[in-house]
């Protein structure tokens, strides 16, 4: 059995098992979901450590014909760019289920959709066939509408609708671009590896590149098309926000890299300087908007916009170190923001029933564990050395200096403002006066602690031993970028 596609099949099988369970059997449903998450995480860890660094390139390849007449295969594989993201998905999947442990409203439907969504995400990261990738992409995006619309809060219908419309527009752009690639290639194939050997005409690249990049960029939170993201984050139930900000936004960035940049390097050379400017706006604007929010979840939502700016900036640097940094940032930000949403939604909101920063305060007393987690993820998000964010942002900035020195200097503003808004929220939520109404809060449960500790340990581990991930990423990215941008 192929380890990689295993992650996908296991998630789908978990969804099927839950489908067969009685809807009153809440415990069985949750345990099935958790077990599925655990297996998927273990498989992704196994795959991660089984990757042969010395050999490099795509590994764990599996190819089965599906609709051969149209060049569509079930074709999966992974390299140093996709493996960290598969691993990230494993982590967020498992901890997300743990964070959703207290769900009471229709858990059966919730977990079926949740597991389907995760299956789609795994699928995207391992697909080597453009058509397959697109199918998985849709599989990941559509359950989101229901998950937010049914289980969400704060203006959930609006949030769900806005998110779905934006992402569908993005999908439409990708679809057009994909068909253009298919017909122009002359080989009538959706195979990503074959397509990457085709040299498309320069003018064609210049036209198609923005379609695909912007199409995926919508999901990656590219300014000014990011507005669905904070609204969607806020409306979504906690574990869905974790998946959404932690993994789904990475799907966008991954697509930008794997499809747009890798297949259309000349288009990339032409357009990426403009994208880099937008990404810098993401970083600075996102952090400034986060500074003035009153809703705890909106702060984190905009902080994701700001951090995804670093990912896009790294991708736009067309530099091996910068792109490696972008991939590491995807992992690091996924873990960090997953933890953030677990704190905001589960640890704080489920107990206090408010996210208004002016009503919260003094929670370090009743909820010390939440305070600890917030401090760790907050400092990772400021890019303090010793935590994962620093190594990623350092590499991204190094790459950016190489190509756009002015933008690198400007993005420094984002780092300082990030520190300011994290400290502001830390103060407003965890220090200061404890609100009268918040005196009797249920203590943090063991399940939440397990989820929190898993995520925090990743932040520290990657911060102190970044080479465990950078060697893998750089080994794949370096030859790739040298080939694409000689």
């Amino acid at each position: 059995m192929n380890l990689l596609s295993g992650t996908f099949w296991v998630s789908l099988a978990g969804a099927l098992v839950i489908l067969l369970l009685k809807k009153e059997a809440h415990r069985a449903i949750k345990w099935t979901a958790a077990l599925t998450g655990f297996i998927a995480l273990s498989l992704s860890l196994l795959a991660y450590f089984h990757y042969d660094l010395a050999f490099g390139g795509m590994q764990f390849i599996l190819k089965r014909p599906w609709i051969p007449e149209f060049g569509i295969d079930f074709h999966v594989g992974a390299d140093g760019v996709s493996l960290p993201l598969v691993l990230l998905t494993g982590f967020i999947f498992f901890t997300g289920v743990l964070i959703a442990w207290n769900i009471e409203d229709r858990p059966k439907e919730f977990f079926i959709l949740f597991l389907t969504l995760v299956a789609g995400v795994f699928g995207v990261f391992v697909s080597l066939n453009l058509f397959l990738l697109f199918v998985f992409y849709e599989l990941a995006v559509l359950p989101m509408y229901l998950l937010i619309g049914v289980w969400g809060s704060t203006r959930k219908e609006y949030g769900a609708m806005k998110l779905t419309l934006y992402l569908l527009v993005g999908s439409a752009l990708i679809f057009i671009g994909m068909l253009a690639l298919y017909f122009k290639s002359g080989i009538q194939s959706f195979d990503l590896m074959k397509l990457s050997e085709v040299r498309f005409p320069t003018n064609f690249q210049k036209i198609v590149f923005p379609l695909i990049f912007v199409g995926f960029g919508v999901l990656g939170g590219l300014w000014p098309l990011h507005t669905w993201s904070p609204v969607g984050h806020v409306a979504a139930p906690t574990s869905v926000s974790m998946l959404h900000a932690g993994v789904l936004m990475k799907l966008g960035a991954y697509g930008c890299f794997r499809v747009a940049i890798c297949l259309l390097p000349e288009g990339a050379t032409f357009w990426l300087p403009w994208i880099a400017m937008l990404a810098t706006v993401n970083i600075v604007y996102g952090s400034m908007i986060a500074m003035v929010q009153r809703d705890f979840k909106f702060v984190i939502g905009y902080s994701s916009v700001s951090h995804m700016g670093f990912v896009l900036l790294g991708l736009a640097s067309m530099d091996p170190v910068g792109v490696s940094g972008a991939v590491l940032q995807m992992f690091s930000h996924g873990i960090m923001t997953g933890l953030f949403f677990a704190i905001v939604g589960r640890m704080v909101y489920d107990r206090t029933h408010t996210r208004d920063l002016n009503e919260l305060g003094g929670l370090s007393g009743p909820l010390p564990f939440a305070n600890f987690c917030f401090i760790m993820s907050g400092f990772a998000s400021m890019g303090l050395p010793g935590l994962s964010g620093f190594v990623a942002e350092l590499q991204i900035l190094l790459g950016t200096w190489n190509r756009y020195p002015i933008l690198a200097a400007l993005s420094g503003i984002g780092i300082v403002v990030t520190a300011a808004y994290i400290l502001r929220v830390l103060h407003k939520v965890f220090y200061g006066e404890l609100n009268e109404k918040l005196h009797h809060l249920e203590p943090i449960t063991t399940v939440e602690k397990v989820a929190g500790i898993i995520l925090v340990s990743q932040l520290i581990f990657i911060g102190l031993f970044p080479f465990v991930m950078t060697n893998l990423i750089y080994g794949t990215v370096e030859p790739l970028i040298r080939r694409l941008f000689p």
Binding site: V321, S324, F379, M382, L384, P385, G386, V391, L394, Q395, L397, L398, W401, N402, R403, P405, A408, A409, G412, I415, V416, A419, A420, L423, R424, H427, Y431, G432, P466, F467, T470, N471, Y474
Partner: protein
């Protein structure tokens, strides 16, 4: 393989601190004693360093160097020379005393003590690391515990002070980080010693020309070096702090708990001066020479405004905080004087003075903050106008406070005199006008410190509630070691000067 002594000193507080976290929170006595004992280990190890240090060598000693993140040329690189050894000793010494001071803390004691141990690791790392990545890691680690020490255990306005402290410092750090990234792209190294060699041989400038041409920038390498110089210096100038970047300091000092102020004034400020010595001087000597006369004015402003501002304070802690601005100004005056044109003997005197002043101010500022803390514990106020006549009821305190004050204002026979003399003796021929103007700072310092003494100890007894005992044995255990060093350095300064001498001469070779 022999014991990697620097790594041991550096990481012992952190590792010990992690084990310390496993102790039961309610056993407060056990927590206090074990934290103190943990902090004694690096102290004794640093004594070993002092004794075994080869004073006849200018080279780095106890070098530990391994690749860490090879893709971006980052090494794990620790070593010690004469510039850092004194600071390492000061750090381990003051941290132990700070923990001893903190025995009266009740709230969240375990976290509090752990933060001090973490802080010690951060500060020691800054003085040992010679690769920018490694250095920056510790530079930022030092920030976090101090932020929480102020934020959680500080007095009324603590949240504002902690925020200001953090954001000011981080702003400087980001500027420094960006500058080093740019230098890395040109040179391919984060190693301070390699960068210094490249810069002094002119190769760094050549590499910067290549980089700027490749990037299509129309900047000359001199301009790039100047920008990088100011970006890096900003981080250190905020930390020192040099006027006009000093405004975070009075707030942070006033709000921090006593032990926090001791470490903040005693060690954290020295990290800024150390940064100038270790990084700015060797890597940017030419730029520093160009701007030294202008920057000297900023040092002068720190000296004079710091002194005047201290004179205007009624809050004792704020007064001592501003006097720190003033005293650190002397250090900066000495550093900028080195870069001016002139004889090497004068420069050597100035640089020796700077190093000694760092140590001396560490001792005397820590002592003064401790003494103010002793008063505050009894009177629950720091308002100078509320005190009076303490000499009669607290004779021992009056004596020790007197010694600390005279050490701070530079009385001969005590430590402060020697270092200030060396700085003035050195910078006078190099920057005559500025040095003459800076002597005004000495005068004002004498005025406000003597006024403070008079208000505290003479006149009618202030109205206080409750008992007002003299210093306890526990408090003496903190104060006496500090006073001991004031006399030791005052009478026999060469035990420190000799340590640094070779490194000082080596550093000065750049400017001769």
């Amino acid at each position: 393989m022999p014991l990697p002594i620097l790594t041991t000193i550096n990481l012992f507080p952190l590792m010990g601190g992690l084990l310390f976290l496993l102790l039961p929170s309610e056993r407060k006595g056990l927590l206090r004693v074990s934290a103190f004992l943990l902090s004694l280990v690096p102290f004794f190890l640093s004594l070993v360093l002092l004794l075994q240090f080869d004073r006849t060598s200018q080279a780095f000693q106890w070098v530990e160097k391994f690749p860490w993140i090879p893709t971006i040329g980052v090494d794990y690189f620790l070593a010690v020379d004469g510039l850092s050894l004194g600071m390492i000793f000061l750090t381990t010494f003051l941290t132990s005393l700070a923990i001893l001071t903190s025995f009266s803390i009740e709230r969240n004691l375990k976290t509090y003590l752990f933060l001090f141990l973490l802080l010690e690791t951060g500060m020691l790392g800054v003085f040992m690391a010679l690769n920018f990545f490694h250095f920056f890691l510790f530079w930022e680690i030092g920030l976090i515990p101090m932020f929480f020490l102020i934020k959680i255990w500080g007095s009324e306005n603590r949240h504002y002070a902690a925020f200001k402290f953090f954001v000011y410092t981080l702003f400087g750090s980001v500027a420094m980080l960006l500058a080093f990234q740019f230098l890395y792209l040109a040179s391919g190294t984060f190693d301070f010693t390699e960068l210094a060699e490249l810069s002094q041989s002119g190769l760094l400038q050549t590499k910067l020309v290549f980089l700027t041409q490749r990037l299509g920038l129309t900047l000359s390498p001199d301009v790039v070096m100047t920008i990088a110089f100011f970006a890096v210096s900003l981080a250190f100038a905020i930390k020192v702090p040099i006027w006009p970047f000093h405004t975070w300091l009075p707030d942070a000092h006033t709000e921090a708990p006593t032990a926090g102020s001791m470490v903040l004034a005693g060690i954290l400020l020295k990290m800024g001066v150390y940064g100038f010595l270790r990084i700015v001087l060797p890597i940017f000597p030419k730029v520093l020479q160009t701007f030294a006369p202008t920057l000297g004015l900023f040092a002068l402003a720190s000296i004079l405004f710091g002194a005047f501002a201290a004179m205007a304070q009624t809050d004792l802690k704020r007064m001592i905080a501003y006097s720190s601005v003033n005293h650190m100004g002397y250090c900066m005056l000495g550093i900028f004087a080195i870069a001016a044109q002139g004889e090497t003997a004068a420069k050597a005197s100035a640089l020796n003075g700077v190093l000694l002043q760092m140590f001396n101010h560490g001792i005397s500022a820590a002592a003064l903050f401790f003494m103010v803390g002793v008063l505050y514990d009894r009177a629950h106020t720091r308002d100078l106008s509320k005190f009076g006549g303490l000499r009669k009821i607290m004779p021992v305190f009056a004596g020790l406070m007197g010694i600390s004050t005279f050490s701070s204002l530079g009385l001969p026979g005590l430590n402060g005199f020697i270092s200030e003399l060396l700085i003035f003796r050195g910078s006078f021929p190099l920057m005559t006008g500025l040095t003459l103007a800076a002597t005004g700072g000495l005068l004002i310092t004498a005025v406000y410190l003597l006024t403070m003494m008079e208000r505290l100890f003479h006149g009618p007894l202030g109205a206080f509630h409750g008992p007002f005992p003299d210093m306890t044995r526990h408090e003496l255990a903190v104060a006496l070691p500090l006073v001991f060093f004031m006399f030791l350095v005052g009478i026999y300064p060469s035990f420190l000067l000799e340590l640094a001498n070779r490194s000082v001469m080596h550093l000065l070779e750049i400017f001769s």
